[in-house]
Amino acid sequence: MESVGACEERNPLLEMLDGFAKALRRAGLPVSLTERIDALEAIRRTDISDREALKNALGATLVKTQAHWPTFEVLFDVFFSIREGPCEGIDDTWLDELAVADSVIARDGRPPAQSEAELAEMLMAALAAGDLGMLAALARGAVGRYAGMQPGRPVGGTYYLYRTMRNLRLEEMIDELMAGSEAQTPLEIRLEREEFEDRAEMLRREIEAVIRRRLVADRGHEALARTLSKPLPEDVEFIHASRDELEQIRRAVVPLTRKLAARLSRRRRQRDRGHLDYRRTFRDSLGFGGVPVEPKFRRPRPSKPEIVIIADISGSVAAFARFTLHFMYAINSNFSKVRSFVFIDGVDEVTHLFENSDDMETSIMRINTEADVVWVDGHSDYGHALGAFRDRYGKAVGTRTSVLILGDGRNNYHASGAEALEKLHRRSRRLFWLNPEPRSYWNSGDSIMAEYRPHCDGVFEVRTLRQLERFVEQTF
């Protein structure tokens, strides 16, 4: 291997690459030394004035999972945007006009009114014609006019993006374009609208990039890279997730489970490859003068576990319960049976909501409306819920059943009901408790995990999808 990377004389690009790789690593991408050397080698073979080629070269050598690509893209923009020529592929006259417009703003602080209308008009025209070069130029104009960026202010790009987009009112523009369209059948209308939405999305991304570039110019790429890095969806904590993040998690569940299901079933088939089949091995050996050339094995008979899920769905942990139920049902082909129960202070069975249903979303929404889980006041009461479960559904748990209890173990100072849990534990094959809180918070305040713990085969901290996946993979 050529070790050119290490002894090359310092050059700005090399240092940039170094910082870039570090930033990628900080964001959670596993970038190894080999890959950095590859990246360097790749850059030498690439025309680095072509920004897209540079991005592709770095992407191919440093990013080995598509899920990491968005993070890579953002950081690439942060690190390599200043090197971009100010105006690639854009008609120069437009730039001049915009530069004038920009300087006007700079002089008296607020944009002249007619140029705002002009901008809107140009934007409409560009959206209608699908002129990407002009859209890119207009993105710069729009940011200059509407984002109200102030040097040194420590807000993130989202705030500026929001301000710009709110002022542009792209939705209305698309409606207007559609009103003037010649499309007649519903299909044509839909196709045309999607075309416009695509272009608007392109504009949005361009605006985002412009803002990022200006932020870099203002604060430097190292600082910005740190503030920009967001956790990957599988690392977002359930109980602190924002609405956007919940949506991201929701989208990440399905691909994750598909992979996990494939892995589990594969492993089950391999784990027990069956005992040696003496008879067949011996019979086969006759062909080779009695030498058992190829041992034969019996076909394995896979045994699938039976699952009972008991989930706390009170406000604080509802999101956790929802995703875990979704997750378990998505891999239910690996279990012989899944039954699910939800509780707050009362308990109810919800298995029927998931059976014969393709649409997991609706099933989960129906839990909230249809399950009868409130006994007294609608605050979690594990003691009562566990007791009620044992009395009403105790038969659901047998010697082949693995029980999963989902909840934070915060009991609002009610009685713990640990004896009911102990009974369940004794009847079941295994019993696990999954808690969405960090381990360090357990047993503080009204959390009484310590009382439940002796009656579980394991208690697990499951704050993120990643931890959930790991738990399932280790356990089943």
Partner: protein, 290 residues
Amino acid sequence: MGGKFESSEDVLRALAGVRYLCDKRVAGAVYLADCLERPVLVEGPAGTGKTQLAKSVAEICGARLIRLQCYEGLDEGKALYEWNYRKQLLRIQAEREERAWGDISEDIFSEEFLLTRPLLEAIRAEDPVVLLLDEVDRIEVETEALLLEVLSEYQVSIPELGTMRAVQIPRVFLTSNSTRELSEALKRRCLYLYIDYPEVGREREILLAKVPGISDDLAGEVARIVRSVRRLDLRKPPSVSESLDWARTLVMLGAEQVDPEVFDETATSLLKYRSDTERAQRELAGLGAR
């Protein structure tokens, strides 16, 4: 090999010459793989032309394509090499009386008794070859290790014979449908390329290039409808090969444009689940309105 391609534009042009229309990211990865002598790991949804990429590269280089279809349970004997033990046994039995064991054992572990499998074959090939490891994600993590020596050193070690080095470095493509994460060790040795569904404009070009007799308008409409259908939350979104099938069907039926009846008649070539078809008809109002 030493860089048969001049630049990534060169790759792009050459691939277009064999009617494989791709974007700069794809061409760039192929070009870099060529320069750095690294395998390319290609991921992406099914039916976006991952396997076709390897075939097309083989075509433009005038190379022989050696393909190893991966599956669960693939082992050394199927991927690398195997000793032809039946033949070995015969030899032992034939010469049992006459020769000393030492002579025979040396004899039976010679190349005469070696069955080469795709990986070894690629290494030993004297003519240019493209090695395609299709659907690597189907083999077990442990089996991946078998590939590592070939992928990083372009050699195969056979204990009885010694190490076989590549006569010339083969171009290697691995494809994966990402049903599982591949190991870090494997990824580290490869360049990574993700091939997504093409954007509308490119899909239109692909349709025009691959479907004989299709009109400009119809290609555009097919591409736009397919984009729209892919956005629905379907069990199996239509792949490029399916949109090609659909376009061919439309051309065969002589349809000039897509209306509800035509869609009803032809939907099976685009969508493979009943629920998906119904959903598409419902959502793209005006399709299947009747």
